[in-house]
């Protein structure tokens, strides 16, 4: 087999043919999942009451239960519970079965199985993320097309509102996993010299749980969409139609997946580092990914909790958030933003960390002030849990506390400054090799500058009086999430593509995509900033004629970005199939992942590596 190195292929391919494990794959998962979902649906669905409200609640219960049972059924069908079941009856998987689960020698089939190899999980995440970004991006193009002209008759208000919400949640989920999913799973264990993740079966679980959330989210379309945006504020979410259940179930499933992945990544970095890799020798991407998931682990359960409470309000007439029966919408807003603000840094930090990993390689200088980078990340993560109510300045919840929340929010600019310092300090006195990943570093510097400064206005209470809920906010957070974090992830894709696929990323398409995306991006959000400054609210299907120029400019820019991403997608597919075969270390980098051949052996290293310095030993000695 060409996909295996000599050492592995010389071993007999394990074939525990009697075991149930060999019979299960995503296909059986699909079948069992559908059986579970339909079974639950027909078991529960008996609308006998004359009261429409009671019927509606019962219908919500049925849908929610069916969706969650689909997820459970899929996992049963793909064999996720075989291991725990064996433990329950006092056994464990045999060594042969474990090796089979690692997908050894199974070629392309292992990508459709419950495969415990971290490299397989990394590729599964990569394909999943690209798909989600493509779907979310298509929704964005529909939104922008509708907003090109006032009148907005390209799509109806109901479809538009659904698009806004589904674009939001699809992109948020994709962005949370865009760096830690593919690169955190494929590259990071090799980077720290580990043979695999700490909990390989949990690793497979985190991906397949996430996978089950995708059809659930898609089902929202067929249940009437969601009217709430991805913030899903109560009481609008309680009033919403059956499509809302798909949203709630998606978040519940997704939060479970992040909890599993977060625990796994943290444990791997703490416990599985190579001999000699003390904390001050850990590559900065690993530090960034760890801080990011450590922030996600406490954040997402509150989101899940808020969704469960919303579901209870919708199905069992509880009143956590329904003011009509004594609940509070502010409670929901708190739970949401206590997740929501750390979440933007969960997205941002790994993207930035990828760029910090790239800069020393392409400038041929050590990372400037490694300590500042860590202090910057840790400072951002620490402060990010103290700022959530800046999303609620205008809610009327507690105007007295606006001042303190403004102070904590503006303080985040100090650790963010350190991130600039580290990158600029590394660039200074160097001659950067202007390959596409390096161009992304420059794009990041500009985008994060704009995103950061506009964030300063928004953090300020008097200015937020005007800007809150306007298009200005939309432009601001796209600069930070898309312009900064996604740019970092795209740089990581091109940078690690040779290690993940064995082929170089097509250079010309990477440059064409880069310039289309980045220039289109500036036009797109310049238009949106001006629309916001003029006073256009966000999430509107239609607008007054006065905003026409800004919106038209914005839509033109959006098409530029769209073309750029299509070129990038073409680049991925083409390079993966026909790209130039990559050498082992095309960029001349010093981190451990470049010391292993492609295809990476099952246990990554023939002999466990011993680390004697940090990976940034570039440069001529300074006199």
């Amino acid at each position: 087999m060409t996909t295996l190195d000599n050492r592995v292929s010389s071993r007999p391919i394990p074939n525990p043919s009697k075991s149930l494990i060999t019979k299960l794959n995503a296909g059986t998962g699909l079948v069992v999942g559908i059986i579970f979902a339909l079974g639950t649906y027909y078991l529960l669905n008996n609308n006998s009451s004359d009261d429409a409200t009671v019927n509606f609640q019962h219908y919500n219960r049925t849908l929610l239960a069916s969706m969650l049972m689909w997820s459970v059924g899929f996992l049963v069908g793909i064999g996720a519970f075989i291991g725990p079941w064996r433990w329950l009856i006092g056994k464990d998987l045999t060594a042969e079965e474990q090796l089979y689960l690692a997908g050894d020698g199974q070629g392309i089939k292992r990508y459709f199985k419950y495969c415990t190899d971290h490299k397989v999980v990394g590729i599964q995440y990569l394909v999943g993320v690209i798909t989600m970004l493509a779907v979310g991006g298509t929704m964005a193009m529909m939104i922008r097309t509708n907003l090109a002209m006032p009148g907005g008759h390209f799509i109806t208000a109901s479809v538009y509102n659904s698009l806004v919400g589904l674009h939001g949640i699809t992109m948020i989920i994709a962005m949370i996993i865009v760096a830690t999913g593919p690169f955190g799973n494929f590259i990071m264990p090799i980077m720290i010299g580990a043979a695999d993740m700490a909990f390989p079966r949990l690793n497979a679980l985190s991906w397949w749980v996430l996978f089950t959330a995708i059809p659930v989210l898609c089902s929202a379309w067929f249940l009437g969409g969601i009217p709430t945006g991805w913030t899903a504020y109560a009481p609008l979410s309680i009033q919403a139609g059956p499509g809302m259940n798909a949203f709630l179930a998606t978040i519940i499933i997704f939060a479970f997946s992040t909890a599993v992945a977060g625990a796994n990544i943290t444990a791997t970095v703490v416990a599985m580092r190579a001999k000699g890799m003390s904390w001050n020798r850990v590559p900065i991407f690993v530090i960034g990914a760890t801080i990011s998931v450590a922030l996600a682990v406490p954040a997402f359960p509150t989101f899940m909790l808020a969704m469960i409470q919303t579901a209870l309000d919708r199905t069992f007439m509880t009143s956590f958030f329904d003011a009509n029966f004594g609940g509070s919408g502010w409670l929901y807003a708190h739970l949401f933003w206590i997740m929501g603000h750390p979440e933007v840094y969960v997205i941002l930090i790994p993207g930035v960390a990828i760029l910090m990993e790239i800069v020393p390689v392409f400038v041929r200088k050590p990372l400037f002030s490694y300590t500042s980078a860590i202090v910057g990340f840790a400072g951002i993560a620490g402060l990010s849990v103290l700022v959530w109510a800046h999303h609620m300045y205008m809610s009327g919840w507690m105007p007295m506390l606006n001042g303190p929340f403004m102070v904590t929010t503006e303080m985040i600019s100090i650790p963010t400054g350190l991130i600039f310092l580290v990158i600029l300090g590394t660039l200074w006195n160097g001659k950067p090799w202007l390959k596409m990943p390096m161009l992304c570093v420059y794009a990041f510097l500009w985008n994060m500058l704009v995103g950061g400064i506009t964030g300063l206005y928004l953090s300020d209470v008097p200015a937020d009086n005007y800007l809150h809920g306007s298009m200005y906010v939309t432009a601001h957070f796209h600069y930070t999430l898309m312009g900064s974090a996604l740019t970092g992830a795209v740089a990581g894709l091109v940078y690690w593509f040779p290690k993940m696929t064995g082929r170089m990323f097509n250079e010309r398409s990477s440059y064409v995509a880069f310039w289309f995306i980045q220039l289109g991006f500036q036009v797109l959000y310049l238009g949106m900033f001006t629309a916001g400054a003029e006073g256009q609210p966000r999430r509107v299907v239609d607008y007054a004629d006065t905003f026409h120029v800004s919106n038209m400019v914005s839509t033109i820019g959006a098409y530029g970005v769209g073309i750029g991403f299509i070129v990038l997608l073409w680049g991925v597919v083409h390079s993966w199939r026909h790209g130039i075969i990559a050498p082992m270390n095309p960029w001349g980098a010093k981190t451990l992942e470049w010391t292993v051949p492609y295809p990476v052996p099952l246990v990554n290293f023939d002999t466990p590596p011993v680390v004697t310095s940090d990976p940034y030993g570039y440069g001529k000695a300074v006199k």
């Binding site: 200088k365 303080m411 100090i414 400054g417 600029l424 090799w433 966000r538 001349g588």
Partner: protein, 263 residues
């Protein structure tokens, strides 16, 4: 190391600084820094004044001033980041082989300290300015409150309605007399809305069963827009109405025409 070499190896900080300033890369970078900083100061002053709508209250004037000043505070940061980025980009390495190694500088105590202090000071200025602005608007509001007119604003899917309790008028348009402080008491009949009289520079959410209060003083005659700034369902985009700031006499006429009574 012999003693007579010491002065050359250890120049005084002043000498080192002059030598640093004379470096070609430093000079070019400084040039870019001046260019970008000036550019942002000029553009920052123009962008918001050009794009933001007519200012019809002191609150709106304060907001516009604040955005301009924040842009100016950020201008040196932009100058610093963009100048170094521009210099290194211009002198970057193109080609298929990696460039030569640069100096193995891992840290620079003076640089990091200066950066830390400067960025913290800029953040402090922004924080203090914001807090002072917040306080002065709160003080002005307290001073104006006793002779303010109350308007009860009700948001419901998808209309605004305004009740003037002292005048006994209810309307779907928001009429306000000039130079008279006004207190909006805002509530929702269903889901969350956000009351946004755009040109007045105030905003507050409308919640079910919880009144939120916001105060302003219109000081310019003319029409303004009232919008909803919180996604509230199907016709959120169309939840808007007209407002106008009129003279006291016109306001009284309007109240009478609506069947209300003037004080």
């Amino acid at each position: 190391m012999s003693d007579h070499n010491a002065p050359e190896l250890n120049p005084t900080p002043g000498e080192r600084f002059t030598k640093f300033l004379k470096r070609k890369d430093v000079l070019e970078t400084l040039g870019w820094a001046v260019f970008y900083t000036t550019g942002f100061v000029i553009l920052g002053g123009k962008f918001y004044t050009k794009w933001m709508p007519t200012m019809m209250s002191t609150d709106m004037r304060a907001i516009e001033r604040l955005m301009v000043i924040f842009t100016w505070i950020s201008a040196p940061v932009c100058g610093f980041v963009l100048s170094m980025a521009t210099y290194t980009f211009r002198h970057g390495h193109r080609g298929d082989t990696p460039p030569e190694d640069g100096p193995a500088t891992r840290t620079n105590r003076l640089g990091i300290s200066l950066f830390g202090v400067m960025s913290s000071l800029l953040a402090l200025v922004a924080i203090l300015y914001g807090l002072i602005e917040l306080n002065s608007s709160a003080e002005a509001a307290t001073k104006d409150a006793p002779n303010a007119m109350v308007v009860e604003v009700t948001g419901s899917q998808w209309v605004w309605s305004f009740n003037y309790p002292a005048q006994g008028v209810t309307s779907n348009e928001l009429m306000l007399p000039i130079n008279k402080p006004v207190i909006f008491k805002i509530i929702s009949e269903d889901v969350n809305h956000s009351f946004w009289p755009v040109q007045l520079g105030v905003k507050a959410d409308a919640n079910r069963y919880q009144t939120t209060t916001v105060q302003t003083k219109p000081n310019k005659l003319g029409a303004f827009d009232v919008k909803c700034a919180e996604l509230c369902g199907l016709y959120h985009a169309y939840m808007e109405t007209n407002g106008a700031v009129v003279t006291t006499a016109d306001f009284n006429n309007w109240v009478t025409a609506q069947g209300g009574h003037t004080a």
